[in-house]
């Protein structure tokens, strides 16, 4: 079963955000990982780059598809999960844990007010 941890926030482009203080950890949801199938490559930005909410920040490739990654909030990149360059399959096996993508310093926390709760996201993807 695909899981959607309650402590996270979700957006309709299938990224999640874990907010701790003014830092947001961003990745893709279990639904997205399942749709993509085996992830083979994740192209991520560099530390120090800034992105607006909903801006494209990277690309994810699986055996069968290629998709853009979009910011669920604006901010400056403070960390990138380098492990994904050698183990992109972590996105499939542990999307909310070791398969995280970037951490950003939130530019405007209020942007996340529009993000979905776990239950609302689950309803969105089941439809």
């Amino acid at each position: 079963m695909l899981s959607y941890p309650a402590e996270l926030k979700y957006v309709k482009s299938h990224e999640y955000v874990r907010v701790e203080g003014d830092t947001a950890t961003i990745g893709i949801t279990a639904f997205a990982a399942d749709q993509l199938g085996d992830v083979t490559f994740v192209e991520l930005p560099k530390v120090g780059q800034s992105f607006k909410n909903e801006e494209k920040f990277g690309v994810i490739e699986s055996v069968k598809s290629v998709s853009d990654l979009f910011m669920p909030c604006g901010g400056e990149v403070t960390a990138v999960n380098d492990k994904l360059s050698s183990e992109p399959e972590l996105v499939n096996s542990d999307c909310y844990g070791e398969g995280w993508m970037i951490k950003v310093k939130l530019s405007n926390k209020e942007e996340l007010n529009e993000a979905l709760s776990a239950d609302a996201y689950k309803d969105f993807v089941v439809e």
Binding site: G37, D38, T40, F41, V59, E61, V63, K64, V66, S85
Partner: protein, 368 residues
């Protein structure tokens, strides 16, 4: 708005119960994967995999003129099937030298069985009927709806099918055709496939398909069998350098351009498209299909531009990660002068020009 329901194979319920992800393919609702494309691909390379390919079309050609008709329709030489129970790979070529479809022709005791692509089935059926008129003693029958087709592929396929029919099949030649019983079910099979591995494509009546599928999965458990979807089928055929209609072959692209010259027999006598193919053979092809190995990790995909010398020279027709070989691979069409092995080209992947080398076909070849 016209809503056309997708066609279902006789195994639709089985795929659902196995939790397959289904996709539309050529008008059919087909399993793309059960668990993982990579796992299914490697199961076929290392053990054995089972595919439902019942969407493919089957035509029977019989009557005294069947041999001459088939010979006129295909680019390969039907006389290579010197006795019944043999098969060959070939194409229907159109008058302009493009490809109507690629197919396998089986010579059986009393007829020929033609296995065609699902997405082209109607076009192919119209094509064979259109050319049947001048043959007096010819019967054409489209048996696609009555026929299920399973592909059992991988190094353990021969042991598994031998277990299932209770007979050692290891001595069967490649592209042979046999009829056997499997737990009371009437089956027939060619030692053929579309993965680059040893294996069989197994025909049964539609109503027996589920029993046959379950029998193969159950008996295959000790060999590590995996049900495999169209995702793995595509990455396997690509890695093995096998063309896919709609990618490397289409109505405008012929077998010589696709690198299938080994299957075109210009000297056998007349057949549809022969003049155009002969001219291509003598004067050169307008474009050539090449095997590319690209650098980095970004994957080439169908439609991506191929560049050389600062300009676009071609286009990728299929691309993926070579799951077994371990690097990105692509088929592309380029001008023949750029098709030489070792030549360096570039593929435009998003905003980057990625270096790609022309390599020998295929990327993966199994050890004999």
């Amino acid at each position: 708005m016209v809503v056309t329901a997708l066609k279902e194979t006789p195994l639709a319920a089985v795929h659902k119960s196995l939790g397959a992800r289904m996709v539309e393919f050529g008008g059919w609702n087909m399993p793309v994967r059960y668990k993982s494309d990579i796992q299914e691909h490697q199961a076929v390379r290392n053990k054995v995999g089972l595919f439902d390919v019942s969407h493919m079309g089957e035509f029977l050609v019989s009557g005294d003129d069947a041999h001459d008709f088939v010979q006129y329709m295909i680019a390969n030489d039907v006389n290579r099937l010197s006795k019944p129970n043999m098969a060959l790979y070939t194409q229907f070529v159109n008058e302009e030298g493009g490809t109507v479809d690629d197919l396998i022709v089986y010579r059986r005791e009393n007829d020929f069985l033609l296995v065609v692509n699902a997405s082209n089935m109607e076009k192919d059926w119209n094509w064979v009927q259109k050319h049947a008129g001048k043959y007096k003693n010819l019967n054409l029958k489209n048996v696609s709806d009555d026929t299920a087709l399973l592909a059992l592929q991988g190094p353990k396929a021969v042991q598994l099918l031998s277990d299932v029919v209770g007979k050692d099949l290891s001595g069967l030649p490649s592209f042979s055709y046999s009829q056997e019983k499997a737990d009371g079910l009437e089956i027939s099979f060619g030692r053929t496939g579309y993965t680059g591995e040893d294996g069989f494509e197994i025909f049964s009546a539609t109503g027996d398909a589920e029993k046959l599928w379950n029998l193969l999965l159950a008996k295959g458990e000790k060999y590590g069998i995996e049900p495999c979807g169209l995702g793995a089928r595509d990455t396997l055929r690509l890695e093995a350098g096998l063309p896919l209609y709609g990618h490397e072959l289409d109505d405008q692209t012929g077998p010589l351009e696709a690198g299938l010259g080994w299957s075109v027999k210009l000297e056998k006598g007349d057949f549809i498209g022969r003049d155009k193919l002969k001219a291509q053979k003598e004067n050169g092809v307008p474009k050539q299909c090449v095997c590319l190995r690209s650098e980095g990790k970004a994957l080439p995909r169908q439609g991506y531009e191929v560049w050389s010398g600062g300009k676009q020279v071609g286009v990728v027709t299929s691309g993926s990660t070579g799951i077994h070989v371990g690097y990105p691979i692509a088929f592309a069409y380029v001008p023949p002068e750029l098709a030489k092995e070792g030549n360096q080209l570039e593929i435009k992947i998003r905003d980057n020009m990625v270096v790609a080398h022309v390599v020998r076909r295929p990327w993966y070849k199994r050890a004999k």
